[in-house]
């Protein structure tokens, strides 16, 4: 798909890029950041631009679908897309495909109508231009979509094909209606410039009843020629699938009728009236008359449908391609085809890859190509062979389309839903994208996390929770940081945050964000640091609530289980001091021994440390010495009291 002519060039505004050369970094999806390369010396022949402000330029592409009107289309289409994917394997697949194709068409039509409305209300010239371009684009999309639907999605019996094509033509080409309307409005319709073209146009489109209506205002309507042509027109056989007529019978009837028309033409019934003769020539399906009215028909495909209707009304889909040569030549051959004309030509020739290729290059967005390809793939019209990049054409286009959505500020949620249906690379794309979606608020974070959870993207969940946790931490929001870390279930990160809490405690002597700490529950067990933090806070709470007995045993458990960080050993012991000195005996002799053991251990490890770091702070030593002595005294006293108490109340135990 990398045609050279699809390259786009955009100049980078500003002088600094000229002077230094450009550097660039990828943004999210279809986004590039371009800036002056400051590591380069400015080239000599270019003026140095020092002093001028530096800019970072943001370049975006494939932004067609970001306009308000198109966004509506994107949002509506994704619903149909998802529903289509869910209905691929149903029994009435054929019907489902047709139904979804029609749904797509109806939203394209709605989009066209929206643009028409906007065009009517718009005031500025620039807007008008933009809307007009969009209008042309979406009208073409609708035209091509419905054409492809007739050829590929609906499976039509011979005979029904032409009538479908005629209907399609009537919907999209209303020139003859306009002419007829205009002519009939005047006082002398038969003299109006558009009178006969209107009649021909209607007959070309097979709208006999309407053509007769226009003819009936002619003053000569009661003359013999008019009666005759009216008779021929009225007797034209019409194929209807439910008429009970087999295609063979219909063809016979048709041939018989057309032979009569040829007869009339040959015997000169209309010699006196050239206009009626033209009608008869049309009915006979004469090539010259179609070629002569190519201007009226407008495009090669209108010519084709009109000509086939009078030459081969029972044509089958695959035979259409043999009828194109004449029609294209009538408009000056292949080289004169407009881009959209050639898309339809490729469609008739069943060159679906060419259709998709041209759709991708002539429309500035991937919406059309990707949805059409998806539909055709499900209809089985497209071989699902793997392209050199590793997956099918359908997936390639869907990935491109999803990327253009994910590059948008707010359409990323829909982009993700499309990626879900890319079996090969979708998950990989999602993984890469979700981590890069800018998250401004917690609510958005929750939404992104929900997307990850639904798809079980554990590493991404962890990383998003961690970055949210770090954000809270930077904002001095420890409670929130802890909540995020718990959600990330990352032990190291939880430990890291718990450490912050303990530091905070060491510095201020109190706990903060109590609501979170007090209600940790079983999530406390995630990290031993956190367990300590939670339990230590519980000790403080018990102490505050004057549950001394429970507090004491918790403290002892913390000391003996050795989950406390070493630097907290002394703190914990000192916390025992008021309990040791309280009036009633809280620690039993047994427990006091254990405390003494802990004290001794701490003492030993301190001495070892002191030896290693010979230059110890004398001051620190003194303070600690004081504390140690106090502690020892407290322990000894408590032991004495406990032994006496236990001895005297022996029978109580």
């Amino acid at each position: 798909m990398a045609d050279l002519d699809s390259l786009q060039m955009i100049g980078v505004p500003g002088k600094s890029c000229l002077a230094y050369g450009c550097q660039m970094k990828w943004g999210l999806g279809n986004q590039l950041f371009v800036f002056a390369d400051s590591s380069q010396k400015p080239s000599k022949d270019k003026p140095s631009s020092l002093g001028s402000p530096e800019f970072i330029h943001e370049a975006n592409w494939d932004t067609d679908m970001h306009t308000p009107v198109a966004r509506k289309l994107v949002n509506e289409a994704h619903d149909i897309f998802i529903s289509l994917q869910n209905n691929v394997d149903t029994e009435d697949k054929q019907y489902q495909m047709l139904k979804h194709s029609a749904a797509y068409r109806s939203i394209i039509k709605a989009c066209v109508m929206d643009i028409q409305l906007a065009l009517k209300q718009c005031t500025s010239e620039d807007d008008r231009m933009a809307f007009e371009t969009q209008l042309q684009l979406f009208e073409a999309v609708e035209l091509i979509w419905s054409f492809c639907e007739i050829l590929y999605v609906s499976v039509l019996p011979a005979g029904a094909l032409i009538s479908q094509l005629q209907q399609w033509m009537r919907l999209h080409f209303t020139e003859s209606d306009r002419l007829a309307h205009e002519a009939l409005r005047g006082s002398n319709p038969q003299n109006a410039e558009g009178y006969w073209p209107a009649v021909y146009g209607l007959i070309f489109q097979g709208r006999i009843t309407e053509a007769l209506q226009v003819l009936s205002v002619h003053p000569e309507r009661d003359s013999e020629h008019f009666k005759l042509i009216e008779q021929l027109l009225r007797r034209m056989p019409v194929y209807a699938a439910n008429s009970g007529l087999s295609i063979g019978e219909f063809e016979n009837k048709w041939r018989y009728w057309q032979e009569e028309c040829v007869e009339r033409l040959r015997d000169g019934s209309f010699m006196a009236h050239p206009c009626l003769e033209v009608i008869c020539q049309i009915l006979c399906g004469e090539d010259e008359v179609f070629a002569a009215h190519s201007d009226l028909l407008g495009t090669w495909y209108c010519l084709m449908v009109a000509r086939l209707f009078y030459q081969n009304p029972a044509i089958k889909v695959f035979d259409l391609q043999y009828a194109t040569q004449f029609c294209v030549d009538a408009y000056g051959g292949l080289s004169n085809l407009q881009p959209w004309d050639s898309i339809l030509l490729a469609a008739v020739e069943f060159d679906i890859h060419q259709v998709i290729r041209e759709c991708s290059s002539s429309f500035g967005n991937w919406w059309f190509a990707s949805h059409l390809t998806d539909l055709l793939q499900h209809c089985g019209k497209l071989e699902s062979h793997t392209l050199h990049f590793g997956s099918t054409l359908r997936e390639f286009l869907l990935l491109e389309f999803a990327t253009s959505l994910l590059s948008h500020h707010s359409l990323w949620q829909i982009g993700i839903l499309y990626l879900d249906h890319c079996s090969e690379f979708g998950r990989f794309y999602i993984e890469e994208f979700v981590e890069r979606i800018p998250i401004e608020t917690e609510r958005k974070a929750q939404k992104v996390l929900k997307i990850c959870e639904e798809r079980d993207l554990q590493p991404q969940i962890r990383s998003i929770c961690k970055s949210m946790g770090m954000r809270s931490l930077h904002n001095k929001h420890l409670g929130a940081a802890l909540s995020w870390s718990l959600r990330s279930k990352d032990v190291n990160f939880v430990t890291f945050i718990a450490e912050k809490f303990l530091n905070e405690y060491s510095e201020s002597g109190g706990f903060i964000d109590l609501e979170v700490l007090d209600h940790l529950g079983s999530s406390m067990l995630l990290s031993s640091k956190l367990t300590f933090l939670g339990k230590y806070r519980e000790f403080h709470r018990l102490y505050e609530e004057r549950e001394f007995k429970a507090a004491a045993s918790l403290l002892l458990a913390l000391l003996t289980a050795k989950i406390a960080p070493p630097r907290f050993g002394m703190t914990l012991l000192l916390d025992a001091l008021p309990l040791l000195q309280s009036e009633s005996i809280i620690f039993t002799s047994e427990e006091t021994y254990e405390l003494m053991h802990c004290l001794e251990e701490i003492n030993i490890s301190r001495r070892l440390k002191a030896k290693k770091a010979a230059k110890d702070d004398a001051m620190d030593e003194d303070v600690d010495k004081e504390k140690l002595d106090l502690m020892k005294l407290g322990l000894a006293r408590n032991l004495a009291r406990a032994i006496v108490h236990e001895g005297t109340n022996f029978d109580m135990f």
Binding site: E76, E442, A480, E515
Partner: protein, 383 residues
């Protein structure tokens, strides 16, 4: 039960909040104007919409041409910096908007010229320690004051007449506060992202006001923290409060009882973003969720439906006049026991994109979605 009609309007912006305008006088419950706020776009906006009536469409084909009956059409809009997080009508034509940048804007809707204009702005009511922007998640008006809460865990009480808040509770929460609602004149309830509900007494504003009461999620023992996203109170019985959580559960709390929710109804598959009681028929409740569903909860058929003047309430009135009202039991407080009598209808079957906000007036429910739609569900059966 499926007599309701759905009208979907695509608005080319993801909608974070929809809100009906309160009726002009108390006698009527009808209103056909609502506001919406968008989020997560480069340029977000607040829009005022009107629901087209059949007569209007017929009378003015030029303006309403192509509109369906009941389809909203935009009266006016105004661009705002930052995503809209919450919005509410302060009175008939004044609108309070809280933004992801931490401020609150007061807008006026001029119905004569159909324009929106900014009356006042309170910038940076909420801001992180590091000066980073911080979303003001909710704004709850009451009297001439309003309360704002934010992701910074702060609670501000602002008087409409003053440019600076009258009271700021800096560390109201250690987590983000996700929503607030006024219970009484001086009492406000907030929910946070670790699943707690707190009640604040705002009279103590001179001192450091404290949470007067703390409520816990019923699953707090397991340590599973599940954020509460939204809170609303019962329109007539002020002690009944409903909240919606991250796990999709609807909780009903009785403010007269201690600590835990009275009823927890597991509901949606994902975040429950908003819960509203029907203003006139509070036995009907509506919820919406990230999973794309909007549910109608009908508790009117549970056995506990209050019968005014029944023996119970007469008996109670001997003990005090105030007891009379509070003792008429709400079905919401007993529906844990009567779960199977609760009738739940999915109002948007088949919808998949997240629904961020709902609001109900009369028989019409509004839904604002991430699929850039506003859906009107009309002709709901309530009563």
């Amino acid at each position: 039960m499926s007599g309701e009609k759905r009208i979907t309007k695509f608005v080319s912006k993801k909608i974070s909040k929809v809100k009906w305008r309160p009726p002009q006088n108390r006698a009527s419950s009808q209103t056909d104007v609502f506001i919406s706020g968008s989020w997560d776009d480069e340029d977000n906006q607040v829009s005022v919409w009107s629901v087209a009536k059949e007569e209007e469409i017929a009378a003015d084909l030029d303006e309403f041409g192509g509109l369906l009956e009941g389809e909203p059409h935009r009266l006016c809009h105004l661009g705002l910096a930052g995503s809209v997080h919450d919005l509410c009508f302060f009175n008939y034509d004044l609108i309070l908007v809280s933004s992801s940048l931490g401020g609150v804007t007061l807008l006026k809707h001029h119905s004569n010229s159909q324009t929106l204009s900014v009356v006042l702005e309170w910038k940076d009511l909420h801001r992180f320690h590091s000066q980073a922007e911080c979303a003001c998640t909710s704004v709850a008006p009451h009297g001439d004051h309003f309360v704002t809460v934010g992701e910074d865990g702060r609670l501000c009480l602002v008087n409409m007449e003053h440019r600076t808040p009258t009271a700021v509770i800096d560390k109201a929460d250690s987590c983000s506060i996700n929503a607030a609602c006024m219970l009484k004149r001086d009492e406000c309830a907030t929910v946070n992202s670790s699943g707690q509900l707190k009640v604040w007494d705002l009279r103590q504003s001179q001192d450091v006001p404290r949470a007067s009461r703390l409520f816990l999620p019923s699953n707090s023992a397991s340590g599973e923290r599940c954020a509460l996203n939204c809170i609303t109170n019962h329109p007539t019985q002020a002690h009944i409060v409903a909240t919606g959580g991250q796990d999709g559960a609807l909780s009903i709390w009785d403010m007269r009882q201690e600590k835990f929710p009275v009823t927890v109804l597991s509901a949606h598959a994902s975040h429950l973003w908003e819960v509203v009681f029907h203003p006139n028929f509070p036995d009907h409740l509506f919820t919406c969720s990230e999973d794309g569903a909007a549910w109608h909860w009908d508790a009117s058929r549970t056995e506990a439906t209050p019968i005014f003047g029944s023996k119970d309430s007469v008996g109670e009135s001997f003990h005090g006049s105030s007891a009379k009202v509070t003792e008429s039991k709400s079905p919401w407080l007993t529906c844990q026991a009567a779960k199977n009598q609760l009738e739940i209808t999915d109002l948007l079957p088949g919808s998949r994109m997240p629904i961020n906000s709902i609001d109900i007036v009369d028989c019409t429910l509004l839904c604002g979605t991430d699929a850039e739609q506003i859906i009107c569900v009309q002709d709901l059966v309530v009563a």
